[in-house]
Symmetry: C2
């Protein structure tokens, strides 16, 4: 027998890791019940080589929406808070904004006029604050903002508002060979500076909406300039498109919380073999927020979960996570 | 001391792996010389924790052009051969092609008229053969084609025409913690069905040109339909754009063979710290093909390596690989 050494070592490694893993609960912030069981049974089925539902490691792809699924999206999307803060910071260079909507609304904290400006107004805010600089310049701006910005209610950095149960779920899936991806309607380059730190998800596993970039040479140095032009909207119908483009494989598990995630879950469900589709329902006004309008919860502007999505989930065996009932703890403990 | 077991095991694992690795030449198909040394010295510098040029594993990103860098691109791009074969296969359903260019040229094997149809003609061929079906349908067509198609000169499947020295280089980089990506002007969904088998590169690490897809529900089942509309051209200026979009990190090593790779190498070179930029020069008509027009080699239609690219390589310390001098063997041994 030649070179038994490495094989033996590998076997010992696996035994040691497996012994440690089985000794603890991988999802300590989840209450016991059907929701937690659904996750654990799915993972066991696809990762046990003797199971008829076994899935090779390379095909264990899980995609997660970000806003409202992995972190708080109320009272408004974090990226919108960023855009508003940037408008205020840039206002001295744009005196015309004092009398031009939707900028005037932002500068006067007039949320009603801001809402009235609709999607078009939102797009103007995004373009004015997200374009016109290089990719590295934008990364610096975003990283700096995350360091100082605080959530108005929880008074913590946004990077501490990841949901503890979802962080455990991400880690648990990765321990079981899954590659975890974000597939969000949010801006890809807004998320990338924080996803590794907050979720353990590297930039190359982040899919999101984007504006176009252009390769240029400035002072003899190549840069990618961010242009005020939409490249791709990674929401609703766009999610399966973005997932297919970036990953080239169909996920076997997908996690969302709103109607924007419907098609991602449908696309995931339509593959062969074992599948897990889950939706986070924000039904916990006390510890976080409560909104629907599914289940008679209040209707709000961000992260709509309609009764028709609830119906589709129920008819298809998608698992609805009740924040109130299924989660022991919402956020990570104060650091 | 608590739980010394796993740590000890990990240390033993690393020692064992390292001992095995140092015992063999990782690049046996490369002749000794400055080219091979450039690769090995670079890898040593970035992977030695005590080196001032050390790069953490997560940042060890290497991007490779495909056509002419990883596999043969003559007498024409493999994807063009595929498009031509598909036009012939689909012709019975399109009687009008008998009298419509560029289809007529393809059906009559009239390469002169085909060339005269230019980029516009090429695009028409691509749209007629790559669009109008679902993504899974297209994957089936491509996989089937790769099984039966043979290269006209080497009489082997295209999937056996990867360059052996580059396959060794890919494996060597991965053994040293690199994530290897393809960044090609070729179609992303044309490459993905074969990159894992040929290069050990999974679909999620393939960047390429694409047409748009649309999410639809057909007979109650969601599909992604391929549309006859350009989404993104991953060539020249587009390569850094595609790399930034898909990976969100700048590569520390980039490999190409033509003017289409110039901006990818410039973008890679412009980062801080140790960098490796390499270009394959096809100067071996006997074992593969010879074309430039750099170095006085013949000028051809596919994979142009201009004198100006050669000049840029030489002024910037990019390494030019001579197929003739640096490679002991071109293709994998017959299987």
């Amino acid at each position: 027998m030649k070179k038994p050494f490495p094989k033996l070592i590998v076997a010992l490694c696996l035994a040691a890791v497996s012994a440690i893993a089985s000794a603890r609960d991988p999802l300590p912030s989840w209450n016991e019940g059907t929701t937690k069981s659904a996750v654990m049974e799915f993972v066991a089925r696809v990762s046990d080589e003797n199971s008829p539902d076994y899935v090779p490691v390379t095909e264990r792809i899980a995609t997660f929406d970000n806003d409202g699924t992995l972190w708080t999206e109320h009272p408004m999307y974090t990226q919108l808070v960023f855009a508003i803060d940037r408008v205020k910071a840039l206002a001295p260079q744009h005196p015309e904004w004092k009398t031009t909507q939707p900028f005037q609304a932002v500068l006067e904290n007039d949320l009603k006029s801001l809402a009235a400006s609709g999607e078009k107004g939102l797009l103007q805010l995004v373009m004015a604050t997200h374009a016109g600089m290089s990719t590295t310049g934008f990364e610096t701006i975003v990283s700096g903002w995350f360091e100082t910005a605080r959530h108005p209610r929880f008074k913590r950095p946004y990077t501490e508002l990841g949901f503890q149960p979802m962080l455990e779920l991400l880690a648990y899936l990765r321990e079981n060979g899954f590659k975890t991806y974000i597939a969000s309607g949010g801006g890809i380059e807004f998320m990338r500076p924080m996803t590794e730190q907050v979720y353990g998800i590297p930039p190359e596993q982040v899919i999101g909406s984007s504006i176009k970039t252009r390769f240029e040479t400035q002072d003899g140095k190549p840069v990618l300039m961010r242009l005020a032009e939409i490249d791709f909207i990674d929401d609703k119908d766009g999610k399966p498109v973005g997932i297919n483009k970036f990953i080239g494989r169909r996920p076997i598990a997908a996690f969302g919380n709103s109607d924007g995630d419907r098609q991602m879950l449908e696309w995931t469900a339509a593959g062969d073999g074992a599948r897990l589709m889950m939706l986070v329902l924000h039904d916990d006004a006390e510890r976080e927020y409560a909104y629907g309008p599914a289940n008679g919860l209040p209707e709000t502007k961000f992260g709509t979960f309609t009764p028709s999505l609830m119906e589709e989930a129920q008819s298809n065996g998608w698992v609805v996570i009740s924040m109130k009932d299924d989660w022991k703890q919402i956020f990570t403990s104060a650091q």
